[in-house]
Symmetry: C2
Subunit: 640 residues, 2 copies
């Protein structure tokens, strides 16, 4: 006898009902996913993040209350979807808050000042690196002799004859359009020709050779539409990574991808829900048909590249942490499947390990740290460090004759994950904090200037640094002063700091001891990773000539705050430089320059990957770094 | 206000209901197509073939009776779908007879004697041509060092290292399977490697290198699964061309393909409904996964190739009759989209004109007639003629220093089209006829030996030849003797010959004067084409050393009958040879041999295409040939 199935209806806020049938014991989260209802679950359904809060309208589910739901809300039907099991038919309302990922996939075509600044930084990086724009893709106008009964040569052969030596093949995509284009144009036609001589598109007006550079972050995706002749950035945009509903971090996504159909599900989530609309939008803004994009350059971490290509990546998360591929060569637009020309050339930045991906090789390229390692700086620049703070933290160290990298298990704290009121660096995020040591009043800088709705990575670094400077928390991150005037309150879970008071519509923005603890572990993992790498190479922090900070944790982090909390080594300010999204910069460089692609391949070939967890002494370093600023106070002589 | 739409429900015999909504004036045929109900319409919906007869169960349509529906049937609700317009909601029953194409798409894996004979003929042709099997595709077993924390190289790079020089790239399809295959096999893996060094598949057991040769006929599709190392034919099959519901001939299909979405609709009809199941079936019979097929070789007429690739082909049917392409190079399995390996190599036989396609260049290759033209016969063989009788007729003439081809507008009569009781050469078809001049009783040979259900091309040639020999019809194809004993009866439309009496279940099998007229025009077009080509080259029929007959009009045509009716020149029997499906033989040759592919390219380069309709004198030749045997009796000295 077939097992009984229950009927579960989901009604997303602002959306139509979705119906599904499920067996007893299935979680509401998994049933929602199978029904195509995208409930947010950054923790991957582990019950820890509390984002998948839905409301049971009728029917029943089996669900314990847990700490994320108040008694009052529980009585009103609120449940965590990941913690609720099917036991009967049910009608479930999904509030917008649980569908948050959808609004994150909005596509921004930014021509704001900050966007222009970012683009200037990228173009300056390219020029400073000494790379030259290669071009390679051309528009060629062909004039054909019209056919007649005496000359009935086929369109394809007629075109190749007219193009002479400037093209040698015609893609199927172009062939399908050729007969109409020829006749619409009176047997004159414009051809988009790759460097190798392949005609990949035809039309009746000159086609600007355009490429797209993409950084696929675990949380955010950024892209640029670029003129391949001049390097001009025609438009830029970003969007949330649609895979986030399967987990905020790479581990949960890999677990999901290993489930039946998972690899294809995650591939579609990034390709169709994110990259395709983002590409369409930046192309529209640039005045180019997406189907005419002739080249793609993509950088991202190793997991993102596996999920983009639909390649089974479950072994990335299991010892001995082996990717399916470092490099993916010979791909075309059809393989990437995001609406660009199927014959487009595709470059994917190579990885060096499961947790050091193309975003880091691209970052090593963009930051220029490789020059010392590859003996290209004339011996003058000395050792340098590159730190990429994204959803994960990765570090590369370059010295004479070596290039080394590692991944620190920083978790998503720098992007606001694992922090109750944490959020990405977007409008409404508190990105800088000062606390007046006399009045104890916090002074907040909010992105976009509006009312704050949360706090992002750079704000957290500031806030914890200020709480420590004002001795509101101690070296273990525990509140040592409290009271209303100071802003420290207490509840069941322990004490917390109130950064901004809310009202009926908006909750308070707070930082709890649990949040502080999570953040201290994140900063400790970064510092201990740096220490371990220095130790492996027999260097000290003072030997570092330059330290480059990259990532999307805020428009810029305050280095003083970061040193104060013991996240970055105590070095003179001027040795530090914030260089933005280097994964995107690297993708831009390799989009335009063969020399940059060759250099990237050299970087991949020479970069050693250090698996910290296998390194003796790392755990001791980590434990020692989980204090403010550090158990070894001599490392931070300027600390309060 | 939106125009009102009516609800039309189709209930195919032995199938589920299909619902569609349509505006007033739409034909039932077009509505059925949009609803995915495949109603047969060999005439393309012109109202002439009468095959799309459906029954109105309830509701109403606007429809005149016409000659295909009796008054009684009309009263019972029978209507031609192509002649009925929507005027109200309707419920329409679609009898199996109107869905006939579906049964034609059944896939036969033949190991019958006739199938073995065909395969023997193909293999003999290959050997006689002096071609050698190239191989090229290999299975390579790779033994890898398992990864460890100290050696965490990625799977792809690890495999390439293990393969050393024997492979240089790994396709995305193979990459997706690699991690699991490696671990299932204890880091030993079998790789399917193309000649160029691309790994296109991986697995855990040795993969036999298999290719598929395909002939795409307008009516019938044939395919062979072939061992690429030995040339052994592992299995063979055939199926009806699923596009037939859009028209029996190429013109109607080109018209349909030019409608919105038509190119993709026709592409899917051949790729998904016909080639994919046919390939799956012959592969199953050969014990090979279709996704492991490493090479395809395809031949077919110019229209079929355009429709297969989804290339706009409407200009094929319009002066000056220019194809979109002669050759299609660089295609892969993904482009053909029939379930074979996406990285499979694909060869498509090139065309020389809109109506002389890859089936004819392949036929020139398979028949060997090219040898004289290319100076490869040592001057001994003399001129030869190649005649392919399929849904269309094409002719190639080879002499010293020239290779010439033309298409004759024979129409589908040789495959039973335009003939009331005509059918393809399949079980139940009368393939040979003798009439006893004394008793006037017909003696029938039926394919499969069962009760006859119709008559195929070879049977028609015999029957008309016999009717003429017995003076039942005159030189104009009109009945000059009648009466029950002779088998000639009369109705509204004129006289007809009864070949076999039916009963309550089966109608009589008859041949009307209209049928004879259609057939005489078909045979006249073949003969006049031959005459015109001879005339162009200054030759006479007697100069022809060999005449090769190819095509699927019956297991073999009776040359005496064909000469008797004036379809083929009056030459000694021994100069004629029936050589079967040369399009398939050519596809088999080019599947296995690079030399054959080179030769085919030479054939394409040297073959001149004669457009008969543009040739002065052709019409006179045609009119003169529309008699039995011909107006110039001196051409057929042996005629009765």
């Amino acid at each position: 006898m077939a097992e009984k199935e229950y009927r579960i209806v989901f009604r997303p806020e602002n959306g139509a009902e979705h119906e599904a049938y499920a067996r007893e014991g299935a979680t509401l989260l998994s049933v929602a996913r199978s029904a195509g209802v995208a409930i947010d679950a950054p923790c991957g359904g582990a019950g820890t993040c509390g984002k998948c809060k839905v409301r049971l309208v009728s029917g029943d589910v089996a669900s314990a209350r847990g700490r994320h739901i108040s008694e009052e809300d529980f009585a009103s039907g609120y449940r965590l979807a990941c913690e609720s099991s099917v036991i009967a038919d049910a009608y479930v309302f999904v509030p917008a808050s649980a569908l948050a990922w959808q609004s994150q996939i909005r596509v921004d075509i930014s021509d704001s000042e900050s966007s222009r600044e970012k683009i200037d930084r990228i173009r300056r990086g390219f020029a400073d690196a000494g790379f030259a724009v290669d071009g390679g893709v051309r528009n060629v106008r062909a004039l054909l002799t019209p056919p007649s009964l005496d000359d009935a040569e086929a369109d394809r052969e007629r075109l190749l004859r007219a193009l002479g030596g400037s093209a040698s093949s015609i893609s199927l995509h172009a062939l399908r359009k050729l007969p109409t284009a020829l006749r619409d144009g009176g047997f004159s036609v414009d051809c988009l020709v790759l460097g190798g001589g392949a005609v990949i598109d035809v039309g009746n007006e000159a086609m600007r050779p355009v490429g797209v550079a993409i950084d696929i972050g675990t949380t955010t995706v950024s892209a640029l539409a670029v003129d391949l002749d001049t390097g001009e950035v025609l438009s830029a945009g970003s969007a949330g990574n649609g895979q986030i509903r399967y987990g905020a971090d790479v581990i949960n996504r890999l677990i999901e991808s290993a489930r039946p159909g998972g690899a294809e599900r995650l591939r579609k989530a990034i390709a169709y829900e994110c990259l395709a609309p983002l590409t369409a939008n930046i192309c529209e803004s640039a005045g180019v048909e997406p189907s005419r994009v002739a080249r793609l350059s993509i950088a991202g971490n190793t997991t993102m590249m596996h999920l983009l290509l639909g390649v089974f990546g479950n072994h990335l998360r299991m010892e001995p942490y082996v990717p399916a591929f470092f490099s993916a060569c010979g791909l075309t637009g059809a393989d990437i499947d995001i609406g660009v020309n199927p014959g487009a050339e595709v470059f994917v930045a190579p990885s060096v390990g499961s947790y050091v991906g193309g975003d880091i090789t691209a970052g090593a390229l963009a930051s220029g740290i490789y020059r010392t390692a590859l003996g290209m700086d004339g011996g003058g620049e000395g050792a340098s460090l590159f730190i990429d703070l994204g959803t994960n933290g990765e570090i590369a160290l370059s010295g004479e004759g070596f290039l080394m990298s590692c991944a620190c298990s920083a978790g998503p704290a720098f992007e606001g994950g694992d922090i109750r009121c944490g959020m990405r660096a977007m409008d409404g995020a508190i990105e800088a904090v000062r606390i007046d040591a006399d009045t104890m009043a916090p002074d907040l800088s909010v992105i976009g200037g509006a009312e704050p709705i949360g706090i992002c990575g750079s704000g957290l670094i500031d806030l914890i640094g200020e709480l420590f400077r004002c001795r509101i928390i101690d070296a273990r991150g525990k509140f040592v002063r409290d009271g209303d005037r100071i802003g420290v309150d207490e509840w069941d879970d322990g004490k917390y700091y109130v950064l901004a008071r809310g009202d009926d519509d908006a909750p308070d923005i707070i930082l709890s001891e649990v949040d502080i603890d999570n953040f201290i572990r994140a900063k400790g993992s970064v510092y201990s990773a740096i220490r371990t790498m220095l130790e492996v190479t027999g260097m000290e922090a003072g030997d570092l000539g330059r330290v480059f900070i990259a990532g999307g944790i805020g428009s810029a982090i305050d280095i003083t705050s970061a040193i104060r909390i013991g996240m970055l080594p105590s070095l003179p300010q001027e040795r530090y430089e914030y260089i933005g999204n280097t994964s995107l910069t690297g993708a831009y460089m390799t989009l335009l320059s063969k020399e940059a692609r060759d250099r990237l391949e050299e970087i991949r070939g020479s970069m050693t990957y250090i698996e910290l967890s296998a390194h003796p002494g790392y755990m001791d370093e980590f434990v020692a770094a989980c204090f403010l600023p550090h158990t070894d106070a001599s490392l931070f002589p300027a600390a309060p």
